[in-house]
Symmetry: D2
Subunit: 95 residues, 4 copies
């Protein structure tokens, strides 16, 4: 499945680059295919590997902040893998 | 933490009451505090109990549908529990 | 259409009751059918009346805060009105 | 402000490339800076230009489908522009 998420401390209004870098380190260690966008991170894998990675990110920020918000958007299409790149390609083909 | 989520098959445009009823059955079996709204379900618990419940809901719909979408919004505030009711109450006090 | 939204200053980690009260005042002045939940506000109306209300809420918070985040989730079902209450009722009937 | 959104007919489970192409045509005609991701579109502009573009996309799909869902995520940071590219760059600098 393909999943977009963002996680951030509720109490910081700017200078979030440091938090995003912590999250990015965890995502890269997961070995999952991923992409960083201006609004979050898109990651591909099965439920358990994706969710355990997001849990690590969320709890990494909880170490330093009292309140953490996380949004997760899941698109789970049976028997489709390699979609992180494929979804954008298939749109281009329709143009 | 307090979590709002919705899960639904991508390929149904109406008559989703049956799917929502399946999800509601799983949520009630979890024993977690929850509330059904017009746009999803709000549930309260720790990461593992909430996420294992949402996973069950998501995979219950996957049994019957090829593609399932799930959105999860987490508000995790240290040392706060009983917030499902409390958050609304504290707003009323400010009015 | 039925719309859930939340709007908040990125730089406050707690004590958001005051901000939510400002938003609630604007929503009530709109005259639209609405419901406050622990995770946001659900509101019903057509595109222009709902979006002008959310815009007012967002910009009200911008007066006091440098950075504001707003999330909007729209469910627009042709020829359906009075759904804020109706969607929950129709689920109950399926139980 | 920087905004991520996705809009889609509730009643199609696959083969959404055609719908995404309709949306992409409207976004390109808007002249706004934008980026297509595997999970939606990120667009940058002020409230009125972004929202009128999303409204056009939503209503374009309503012409062909009974029920349309749209999700919008707004990050509005005072006096910041050119952030669609800049946010990703500033994370890279922190690595």
């Amino acid at each position: 499945m393909i999943v977009e998420f963002d996680t951030y401390p509720a109490g910081k209004s700017s200078g979030l680059g440091e938090e995003i870098a912590k999250v990015k380190e965890i995502i890269e260690a997961s070995g999952l295919d991923h992409q960083l966008t201006a609004m979050g991170t898109i990651i591909e894998g099965d439920w358990d590997e994706v969710m355990s990675t997001i849990k690590k990110c969320h709890h990494r920020l909880k170490q330093d902040h009292e309140r953490v918000e996380t949004h997760i958007k899941i698109d789970d299409h049976a028997d489709r893998t390699g979609r992180l790149k494929g979804k954008v390609d298939s749109v281009r083909e329709n143009l």
